[in-house]
Amino acid sequence: MNKALRTLILVLLVMVVLLFIYLPVAWLVISSISTRAELLSTPIHWIPQQPTLQNYLNIFFPSRGVSEVARTFRITLWNSFVVASSVTAITLVVGSLAAYALIRLRLPFSQTLLIGIMGTRMIPEISLVIPLYIFASRFRLLNTPTILIVTYLSFALPFAIWLMAAFFDTIPIELEDAARVDGCNRLQTLVRIILPISAPGLVSTGLFVFLTAWDEFFFALIFTSTVAAKTVPVAIAEFTGRYVVDVGSMMTGGVLAAIPPVLFSLIFQRYIVSGLTAGAVKG
């Protein structure tokens, strides 16, 4: 085939994929800066004639006329942030200790344990939710960030252990032997030698856990109902349910909810690809 023609076809294909990726996102953003009148016009206004940041102002500086979901959206952003960061911090500490023990210390049954741990990650949330709900209501934890942090560990922790184990496994054992010869004990070796080397693994694992927790919907839907603990996905779902179409606020909420994960993922791009190839899973 003619080389120029081949390049032309490839470029066209690239453009088709790019359009498929960006058109929906562009429409999300455009809808968030359109006035209500323009959103509800036929034929459609692709480019808003009077772009406005009113929807964003409604969320960050709410006045009285604004719907409740928009008014409380800031708080749900904060809740999401608290829950996702706490889950990330806990899983990184607890999970990397366990992963190190499984990979390096001569624990009996460590392979079986590792496989069992990965197996628990695969349990769907819906199969855990009834007992966890009973537990939460007995200990008055419904509608608290605490119950979300605790229940999110059910998928985040096994996942973090698995990923960190994969990273620890790539560190040459000679490094540890050398540290021991120099007089480090196991814990000193872990803290001074292994953790600094596995920084990329920690970043990658932390990123995946944060994104998964930020994304989580089902537990948040079941366990939270007020702004005391409601997270962003629940707030966005409520825009569609409880209130008569407030498309502008809904799309603005969507943009705001998407910004942190998209930004993090783009900044830490290379960690994502390495994490994905290590068998990471965030749908």
């Binding site: 034929p43 939710v129 190839t277």
Partner: protein, 299 residues
Amino acid sequence: MVRKLTLRQYDALIGFILILPSLIIILGISLQPILSTLYFSLFEASRGINASQTFIGLGNYVALLTDAVFWAAIGRTLYFTLVSVVLELVLGLAIAQLIHTRPPGWRFLRTSLIIPWAVPTIVNGTMWRWIYNADYGALNGLLSQLGLIDKYIPWLTKPELAMNLVILADIWHSVPFIALILQAALATLPADLEEAAAVDGANALQRFLLIRLPLLRPAILVALVIRTVEAFRVFDIIYVITNGGPAFSTVTISYLTYLETFSFGHIGRGSALSFLISLFTLVMAFVYIRILYRPEEKL
């Protein structure tokens, strides 16, 4: 008298201490609950969580397996899983292949793939629901301006279309994930095999089918199993786009479980349903681990 531990015993002791917090957490929030769910599934409890319960053994399971509603939900779930996973794999592979040929703009394309993958599922669903909107949606706007439709179509009110529209939204989110995995795998393949095959007269299609595809098999299998497990338990995106409607045409097995448990308060039956989902998932998880975890043979 304190006996001095050998290094091996010392290691095992430290290891046990390090792993203990994780084990306690996993036992408490995963294993104990799944066993409770199994236990609840053996009871007739159809009036909420605190109501009285009667032991009925496998009664809930028998009732489910003889219920047309259950099989309809299974059918929809299988349809969703099969169609979305096959399309996602094919498109993902095609995009990975496209990136691998290094056309102009491939770096930008590879970076762009991260965006749909990172957008939260609920945002993705909300966005598509608005695109599909009957009166003001972008899909209707686009198609009518292109002259492809005469009047606006109420997409999400059509039972025969709704599931496919959910699948399209899922594709937007998941194809990039698969493409990213597969393009990373492609980048690690040795080039000399294919060059040798080309010298021996294999054409591009033969090289792709007989050399590249078999070498990609592990990566494809990983993507396949991850996506199958996720697709089988699909809930979030259905909740936002269709709410199970129209006419129950998007009630998948997870959605049915949600309705039984939280809308109708059928705790026993809901538990039985969710345990069946777990069972399927664990089978898939086993396959997944067998593929991924091979200590001797590193990929």
